[in-house]
Point group: C2
DNA sequence: AGTTATTTTCTCGACTGTCGAGAAAAAAGC
DNA sequence: GCTTTTTTCTCGACAGTCGAGAAAATAACT
């Protein structure tokens, strides 16, 4: 449904535009902002003065670019205007990062996770304590910590803050919004890792390539299988989804998955599934909770030497992935696929199965196979995705809070 | 990416708002529009006067609602301000409809389709000729026919006008935009039927129920299987997709589908597939091009009497659908499902299979099964969907054309 | 019939926002 | 010190929305 528009909304929109330009292009002068946004010079003056008064932007007279004329003065985000915290939950560690409003990392802390059974309350309490410690040692107060972004593999609820199922906690659910409500007023979001990877890759490739990419999927291969999809319909806002891909049904009544269901993609393509298939363990065997990476590598060596069962294990994993991607494109349309995660070391072994699984689909037969590529630095992409999404959301909030802000004084 | 905003855009947005309110609530007076849109009375005056000057709206002083005070005067769409044509392609008929800007049907024409092999050029030529005849006899000129909306079962390309694959034409492709370019300047769109059904149902149920529905899928059962999905993310624009559901892979290397692939959902759940399974014809047999509805009914009678193979055929069809819906919700999230089409007469027979196919998924196990209902009047919903989408698109065009319009004179 | 009450529509001035043009500012070159 | 060049800022014009109250149009009342 449409909503009313007015002069004030126009200003909001254009303020957002200025901040977005600054995010995208780094510190910029008055004229650069005007060129980048399409706003007139006069309007840029008004908006930057306003943002300066609210202590969101500051000017840095540096950058003595030789040349005639009045020197440009650059505007940049005032670093202490806001802060954000990221918490990355993975199977073996918890990584905490603290960034300022300009997007620079100011502190980081890695905590080894004990895989020993910890109850959910203890888990949450420990995260709360560590975050408080991290913020404390950088003197970041509840006033300026505006966003907390948690990332994990697994299934996120529609509310965007509840973890429904994860490889780390199983079906023990956590609502991170309520978890942090007592300590912080920050806006809390929970993101699937692959979602962040897809988002970061989309931004990166759209910048470098020719024009924005229509649709992109990031598929993370490892012990579990993750998927993030970015859909940039021209004219509309970019939309991202983090489907429950690893636990989408591959074959009805098929192999037993770690989640307890039968026939999930993960039960064919996850590390434990490859192990199971290679050693001809019956597919209804309860999967090993952890598979050392070296074990999978051993199987890969066997497969590359021509071992039939090892070859079959990777091929079967590929077929499940190929079918899954074919289903994805049947539903959402043709898209570019980027594989990430530790599993891409074995991509060559899975490729025949993937192609096989893809070719089965009418959509692929008509429109051709999707463009497939690999990306190695998953970790960095997760961080970049978190950075982009969170700072953009802070920008939006900062904009909306215009009148409420205590700024404006000198 | 954000775009520049300005005063003129505000006016555009608010003009659109007024037209949308009129679409939703029928003819309305000045005050009703103000209340419905949230705009001030003064603004409504300016906008309605403008639209009247452009000969898009007209006032009808009727509706002598007893009561004191100055009588309300109602604004309504000027019926001749624009026209739209709908062409519905189904396996046995071509239905042409002509509507005016107020949304009332002014002419309709049904043409029996000869199933005899007709070449694609002849098919297109015949449609062009009939549309010209229909418009001619109602005196609708190329100037006022602003939109042509074609609907069919099958797979629509990303461009929104090319039919990639359809049960009617197979993989003979047609780009309807170029097909009509010579005769009309109208904006041409091609929609999947189930897409339109989903869109109409979403609008209808959102109106009647409490608040807008988050997500809804319409699944059409018949000779082929169609799916339309509406995703109304709060805050964002409503998004609709028309996936290639019938030809999404159900089982890798499975039964032979009419499209030539192996293992499509349709190859298990389409009428011909039910027939094939019930009579124990090998699943790699080339499917019958047309299955009379009465044949399927006969099998249903058998199944209801307890015939094992007939029962199995429907159950298997249900499992394929259930798995498909489970995959859909894995990717897009939980949603309400509405079944339509002739196949719902056998819904009771498929239900066990559907539930079975759904239950296999982790998402369903965690969030519970989706809400499922049936809807009988598929044909009417297709028309309503076409009406809503097309008139809304004409409204948008009309708004944008403000300055270019030859209106304004008296 | 004339007056009053009531409701709706329209008009006017204030306010907010964008824009183009040109003034003011600040540096390099001569 | 003056000129040139480039950037930033200021000013008036213009477009749009809004609230308040005037004008319009009818029913009810005397």
């Amino acid at each position: 449904m449409l909503t009313k528009s007015s002069g004030e909304l126009v200003r909001q929109q254009n303020r957002a535009l200025v901040l977005e330009a600054l995010r995208r292009g780094g510190p910029q002068s008055h004229t650069e902002i005007a060129a980048g946004t399409g706003l007139s010079s006069a309007t840029v003056t008004v908006i930057t003065q306003e943002l300066e008064g609210e202590r969101i932007l500051e000017r840095s007279e540096s950058q003595a670019v030789g040349g005639r004329g009045r020197p440009r003065i650059q505007f940049r985000q005032r670093r202490n205007a806001a802060h954000a915290a990221f918490i990355r939950i993975s199977s073996d560690t918890l990584q905490y990062s603290l960034v300022d409003y300009s997007g620079t990392l100011i502190d980081r802390l890695d905590e080894r996770r004990s895989n020993a059974g910890q109850d959910i309350a203890g888990f949450v309490a420990s995260i709360r304590a560590t975050l408080t410690r991290l913020a404390g040692r950088s003197n970041v107060s509840s006033e300026t910590l505006l966003a907390i972004s948690v990332s994990s593999k697994g299934l996120v609820a529609d509310d965007g803050t509840t973890l429904l199922w994860s490889p780390v906690l199983g079906s023990q659910q956590v609502d991170f919004r309520t978890a942090f409500a007592a300590d912080w007023q920050a806006r809390v979001t929970l993101n699937n890792e692959s979602h962040l990877v897809a988002s970061a890759l989309h931004a990166k490739l759209s910048r470098s390539g020719n024009g924005p990419i229509r649709r992109l999927a990031a598929l993370s291969l490892g012990h579990s299988i993750g998927l993030g999809v970015v859909d940039a319909e021209p004219g509309a806002a970019v939309r991202t989804i983090a489907p429950n891909f690893g636990h989408m049904i591959h074959t009805h009544g098929g192999a037993l998955c770690r989640c307890g269901s039968l026939g999930c993609i993960e039960a064919y393509s996850g590390f434990y599934a490859i192990l199971r298939a290679a050693f001809e363990v019956p597919p209804n065997t309860i999967p090993a909770p952890f598979v050392p990476f070296t074990e999978v590598e051993k199987i890969a060596v066997l497969a590359r030497r021509g071992d039939r069962m090892a070859e079959f294990a990777f091929r079967q994993a590929g077929t499940a992935l190929g079918n899954g991607v074919a289903r994805l494109t049947s539903l959402l349309g043709q898209m570019q696929i980027v594989f990430t995660g530790p599993g891409i070391r074995f991509f060559d072994l899975m490729r025949p199965g993937i192609d096989d699984g893809l070719a089965a689909s009418l959509g692929v037969r008509i429109e051709g196979p999707p463009e497939i590529s690999l990306s190695l630095d998953e970790e960095r992409l997760i961080f970049e995705g978190q950075l982009q999404q969170t700072l953009a959301s802070i920008d939006r909030d900062v904009i909306a809070a215009k009148t409420l802000s205590q700024g404006g004084q000198r």
